[in-house]
């Protein structure tokens, strides 16, 4: 018998600290699978954020840098400019990318920086205990929106893919989800495609991945998948928002 499914080489064989049922774990594996498929482990440098994925530098079998909160795209820019032939990716949550790191996100895109951003959108700050994030939905209860996010006083959620789609330097943007097997496979293809675009110097690529946070949503892992489908998907439609290099191959 042959292995039909096993741990990707690019994923370190270590226990991950994520909460039970948190889909960060799935996304880490998809990134590692994409790296294995493109055989780029030895050439890849990852940049970990501040947030639940802050320990990501322990979870990938490639060189990693841990960046200050929100600054991963800038750190990745520094790495990429020194080693343009390397594949450089950042792995960031919604607080890291779309709150404190908004300027770094938009300007990396505007520069057409040839990096790939893995953007995990779970509509909440996880590591710090469930505060409102820039992608927290209207009415969503969080630790800092205990009465539900009031758009009059706490503003509206930010749709990153839609925003970045207006930026010239962006080569590929897709929003995917990991709530079921079909979508997970779609997410894997999207991540692989983003890395491949980077390999072909096409410019800035970002994959937004709808993800769950059972602990801070106050739901079981399975209920969280339902909540994601019922609440996040309507507001954050899946699909490709920009694709500079229609894949002719």
């Amino acid at each position: 018998m042959t292995k039909a499914f096993e741990r990707p080489k690019a994923l370190a064989d270590v226990q991950q600290h994520y909460c039970p049922g948190c889909t960060h774990g799935i996304i880490h594996r998809l990134v590692a699978e994409a790296m294995d498929c493109l055989d780029i482990n030895g050439k890849t440098v990852g940049v970990a954020p501040v947030g639940c994925a802050v320990f990501a530098y322990n979870y990938f079998n490639c060189d990693m840098q841990q960046a200050a909160h929100g600054r991963a795209p800038a750190v990745a820019t520094g790495v990429k400019r020194v080693h343009p032939d390397n594949i450089v990716f950042t792995y960031q949550g919604d607080g890291d990318l779309a709150a404190i790191g908004t300027a770094e996100m938009i300007h990396a895109a505007a520069r057409g920086e040839n990096i790939t951003i893995i953007f995990v959108n779970n509509a909440i700050y996880g590591m710090t205990g469930g505060q409102m994030a820039p992608t927290t939905l209207a009415g969503q209860v969080t630790q800092t929106t205990p009465y539900g996010r009031n758009t009059q006083t706490q503003g509206y959620p930010i749709s990153v893919c839609e925003i970045l789609a207006t930026i010239e330097g962006v080569a590929y943007l897709e929003r995917v989800s990991v709530d079921n097997v079909k979508n997970i496979r779609g997410a894997k293809k999207a991540i692989e495609k983003a890395f491949r675009y980077q390999k072909e110097d096409k410019g800035f690529t970002l994959i937004e991945i709808l993800s769950t946070c059972p602990t801070n949503w106050g739901l079981t892992p399975l209920e969280s998948l339902d909540w994601l489908r019922d609440n996040m998907m309507p507001h954050y439609p899946l699909g490709i928002f920009k694709d500079k290099g229609e894949d002719k191959a």
Binding site: N41, G42, K43, T44, V45, V47, V54, F55, Y57, N58, F60, N61, C62, D63, M64, Q65, Q66, A67, A68, R71, A74, V75, A76, T77, G78, V79, K80, R81, V82, H83, N86, A103, E104, I106, H107
Partner: protein, 355 residues
């Protein structure tokens, strides 16, 4: 490039960085250091280096972090408010033990302050403007030539000790033009950077650039290990100029461009019969404590002169350690003391009013 050139301080510093092998510069516009990014954007492409203008000083210092972590010689520059924005990044760079050079062309502060020269960022640079236990080596040039020599040496110091090094200038130094020679420089012995994130190429374990140590014992060990290096630096990297301080009444202490004004004041005061000497730190971290302490045995008093409300004066007091009185004279906000202002202070101190 060994012949004599007339160059503006900012441009000379930029050329020095390139001569030192720096090929990555991340900048952002702010007066009075704008000639540095301008020069870099013209010159770097010629040496197939990179000039990149970031969206903010915060972003720029984090680009420096990434490039330094990837093993490159990298520099950034700014002026006071911009350097404040970089403090978190500098703390991360120190915590991750990354080498880089940071140039601060100081201007009047706080807040938006002014654009004239000042020395009011001394505490921020020497005592650490970011969070946590860390130090920067801080070099304080007082001429364009010295700014060149120090910038070149800064890259070696940074690589040797794997830490951020600051060139602490001011608007005067940045804007004035002086003749300068790019001498051949004997580089220091630097270990190969095997720790950079260059891609494992399947040949080694992953390199990780990181300052997070969630286990407090690990973080403490890291800090203690780094402070062992700082102790070594304090013993071996102090640079100070002591001018005629044997058997004098008052020792004037000043750094950077201020020291030039103070030397003129010394000449005038000596002509008028006052026995004065000058101590000029070339590094304000590591601080020349020993040199000052030694002179304190014979001198009667110290007068520290700064373009601020008095910051280095505290370190002078620590060095003198109560042996003798330490006085301060300063102008701030971009005002520059004149030699005669200082001679008046010397008279007041000598005239028994204060001695």
């Amino acid at each position: 490039m060994s012949e004599k050139l007339l160059m503006k301080g900012n441009e000379a510093i930029s050329e020095a960085a390139i001569q030192a092998g720096c090929r990555y510069f991340f900048g952002y516009p702010i007066t009075p250091q704008n000639e540095i990014p301008a020069y870099m954007s013209k010159r770097m492409p010629k040496v197939n280096g990179l000039y990149l203008q970031a969206e903010s000083e915060v972003s720029a210092i984090n680009m420096v972090y990434g490039a330094a972590g990837a093993g490159a010689r990298v520099m950034t520059s700014s002026s006071s408010p911009g350097i404040s924005l970089k403090q978190e990044g500098i703390s991360y760079i120190a915590g991750s033990e990354l080498p880089c050079v940071i140039v601060n062309i100081v201007r009047g502060g706080p807040g938006l302050g002014g654009i004239q020269p000042a020395q009011s960022d001394y505490f921020q640079s020497v005592k650490g403007g970011g969070h946590g236990d860390y130090k920067l080596v801080v070099l304080v040039p007082s001429s364009v030539q010295e700014a060149v020599d120090m910038t070149i040496e800064a890259f070696d110091i940074a690589d040797m000790y794997r830490m951020p090094v600051m060139i602490l200038g001011d608007g005067l130094l940045g804007q004035m033009m002086e003749p300068v020679v790019f001498k051949s420089y004997e580089p220091r012995q630097i270990l190969e950077k095997t720790w950079g994130t260059t891609g494992t190429e399947g040949k080694r374990k992953p390199n990780i650039i990181n300052s997070l140590y969630i286990d407090p014992k690990d973080l403490e060990d890291k800090n203690i290990e780094r402070f062992e290096r700082y102790k070594y630096i304090e013993k071996n990297e102090v640079q100070v100029e002591v001018v005629d301080c044997e058997d004098v009444d008052i020792v004037l202490i000043a750094y950077g461009t201020m020291a030039r004004v103070v030397k003129s004041a010394m000449k005038i005061a000596r002509e008028q019969g006052y026995k004065v000497g000058v101590i000029r730190p070339l590094t304000v971290w590591p601080f020349p404590t020993e040199a000052i302490c030694k002179v304190a045995r014979t001198a009667k008093a110290f007068l520290t002169i700064e373009m601020s409300m008095g910051q280095m004066v505290e370190d002078v007091k620590l060095a003198v350690n109560g042996q003798k009185p330490v006085y301060f004279y300063g102008r701030t906000g971009g005002m520059v003391p004149t030699p005669n202002d200082i001679v008046e202070e010397i008279k007041k101190i000598s005239g028994g009013e204060k001695l």
